[in-house]
Amino acid sequence: MNTTYIIIAVVLLLVILFALVVPVTRRKRSDHYHERFGPEYDHTVQNLGDEKKAQNDLDERIRHVEALDIRPLPVNERQHYLAEWNAVQSQFVDEPGQAAVQADRLIMEVMQARAYPVADFEQRAADISVSYPALVSNYRAARQIAIKNESHQASTEELRQALIYYRSLFEELLSTEPEAVKEK
């Protein structure tokens, strides 16, 4: 009789422990991704509808970027792109829509020069979320404005904002090391 009570007590204790520990570890895991990816983690969870799926997706992104051979830009290329950026920014006053298109193109060119695959936007955003997690939301926001701009729906103020978003990423892409590597 006594043994049965003991077994029940132990099982109950284990259940209580499990119920306490699992959410804590889950929370810790979630915090870890939050710290690593910032708002991009919430964006991915919202997109995929599940934390586990989002975490797997982000792990996959890290593996993808680690497999790439990302190179820093040589000084002369960096200067060339900076000059191009200044020209785009000057163009804004005359042709804001065209300047936003050029800024987007320039980001792609720099990414390509650094050996990121640039086939589609989602892939680019995924890779940026690994190398520059703080800036991927800017890149997505700029993309939204660029889409509006395609149908001539974007206001000049929105386009100006898009240029500022693009530039934050552009400047980081020109620097020698990705943000995530610098932190290590």
Binding site: Q89, F92, V93, E95
Partner: protein, 139 residues
């Protein structure tokens, strides 16, 4: 300021600037080129007041400097539109001031040497007459 100086000054100030302003008609690009056709290649033709049809008012050093400052201001617009517009406004005022000062100087110069200038211009006019008139009297 002697006559020779006046003529030289006149020549330098106006003849050269007018020549500078002369434009080869073949170098004209119609403004319609601004509209990109298929494929959308951006061909940006800045439309400026001085597109070669009028003489340059400022010397090339000043106008280059103003142009540089202008493009700096234009580049700043994205970050701070308000300041960029304020700076553009002061730059335009500065250009106007410089032009006003230049015209005032020119005006003073021509007022001071006006009589001599008129005399020298008159001489040019009178010279053919001085040849023909004695003939007419003799006739």
């Amino acid at each position: 300021m002697d006559k020779q100086y006046d003529e030289q000054y006149f020549e330098e100030r106006y003849t050269t600037s007018i020549n500078d302003g002369a434009v080869d008609p073949s170098s004209y690009e119609p403004v319609t080129n601004q509209v990109p056709l298929e494929p959308p290649v951006v061909q940006h033709v800045p439309v400026s007041a001085n597109n070669g049809s009028s003489p340059a008012l400022l010397d090339s050093q000043s106008s280059d400097q103003f142009r540089r400052r202008w493009s700096d201001i234009q580049g700043k617009f994205v970050d701070d539109p308000r300041t960029a517009v304020q700076q553009a406004d002061s730059l335009v005022s500065e250009v106007i001031d410089q032009l006003t000062q230049m015209f005032a100087k020119e005006h003073a110069h021509w007022r001071a040497s006006g009589i001599r200038a008129v005399m020298s211009l008159r001489k040019i006019c009178v010279w053919p007459c001085s040849i023909t008139v004695p003939f007419s009297i003799a006739w």
